[in-house]
Symmetry: C2
Subunit: 244 residues, 2 copies
């Protein structure tokens, strides 16, 4: 009954990899996605299919499909030259992104505030502790871990909103604002950072109290901060460049 590639019909092995093996295309897509959310690509940077294929040690085929998907999500931009780049930062786009994020993530956290189980609340509380811990030993600014932890914290909440429609939209928004955020976080580090964990604590407290309005307000403050910070920075640079 069993062919040479027998493992797949072995019930035990099947349980270890039950969801169907991952395709190269998905691996590439997730890899690029992670890089974009983490801000590993600079705004306006152009990406080539063959370049990425070499970097990811695969052929061009999975890369071009992944790029196409990211372009439809507006995470990347297709130039008329048919080359693709990560979208440049403009003030209009930042304001636009922030408004959309306030609208949608605010709704998601308001829904989640009345739906999170005590188990889930415990999880985000422990993330709070992990955040403090990382902040305590700040011998080196581990921006990567900061970004990752921030993402995990927010999406642990968003997942609890119970909407299979809103969550992908939020992911798309993070994908689009990833490059901006990274720039903003670096700017923060230079400028002597405010305690970002404060807002997170407020969020957890509000959710524990099932106070949807308070949770939404704290979230708005949390996600607005890097945007307004970066906005001020860009405006200052623009003014300086104008006078020079």
């Amino acid at each position: 009954m069993q062919k040479a590639t027998a493992d797949k019909s072995d019930p035990i092995a099947a349980q270890l990899a039950p969801v169907g093996r991952e395709t190269v295309q998905d691996r590439v897509y997730l890899e690029l996605r992670r890089a974009l959310i983490g801000g590993l690509f600079e705004p306006s940077q152009v990406l080539t299919i063959r370049g990425l294929a070499d970097a990811l040690m695969t052929s061009t085929m999975p890369v071009r499909e992944a790029l196409g998907r990211l372009i439809t999500e507006k995470a990347l931009e297709a130039l008329p030259n048919r080359s693709v780049r990560v979208p440049p930062i403009t003030l209009e786009r930042m304001d636009d992104l922030l408004r959309a994020r306030i609208l949608i993530e605010g709704e998601a956290i308001a829904l989640a505030a009345t739906r999170m189980t005590s188990r889930q609340i415990t999880t985000i509380e422990s993330m709070l502790g992990e955040w403090d811990e990382m902040r305590a030993l700040k011998h080196k600014k581990d921006v990567d871990r900061e970004v990752t932890l921030n993402q995990a914290f927010h999406f642990e909440i968003y997942r609890a909103c119970g909407s299979a429609v809103l969550i992908p939209m939020i992911e798309s928004l993070w994908l689009q604002s990833g490059p901006c955020i990274r720039v903003a976080i670096y700017a923060f580090s230079d400028a002597g950072e405010i305690d970002t964990a404060h807002y997170h604590r407020t969020i957890v407290k509000a959710i524990a109290a099932q106070d949807a309005k308070e949770a939404r307000d704290a979230l708005v403050a949390d996600i607005s901060r890097p945007f307004t910070f970066l906005r001020n920075k860009l405006e200052a640079e623009a003014k300086k460049g104008q006078s020079a």
Copy 2:
């Protein structure tokens, strides 16, 4: 200076086709997109790459890229078998979609209400007239044209919201609710239709008065109707199926 393929550097010809020639991939993507929004595919219908490639008279390559893009937009669904289908309709998904559409399209129309130029308002007013005209000679129920006109009306408004972030999200939402809508419209036709143009008139009136709240309320009523109608129908069927 000019090569043998001279036309592209001719300024006049360049103006006629300024955006770069269209790729087959984009044509296929737009074709499938149009079919999905128009509800030409049934819920749960499975699509094959080679089948679509034959139907669209191209190779498999552009089709697989288009399918990948539509899957990331949640307009299509990837089964663990690696086959793709248009997502089935469930009550939860409908409620989820409607809530998201109220949130986002409501915000978009509220923004548009204070930004539309008199030129744009004239455009949607004329669409109103076209709608009445079509409704007048209702010798045959031209569902396709009804869907197309409805789409044109709404997106003429949404485009005026001035957000390059919200509009793609709305397009994604229409893509996802397309199959449901088509089913609902057919159900309407059977059940003796309410005057859908009434809400559209209210919307135009509110926008002309720059009354954002009124416009949002009318829009919510407009897009809720087919959903609640279909919801009642599905619930009735479920109850009947349960008792039988």
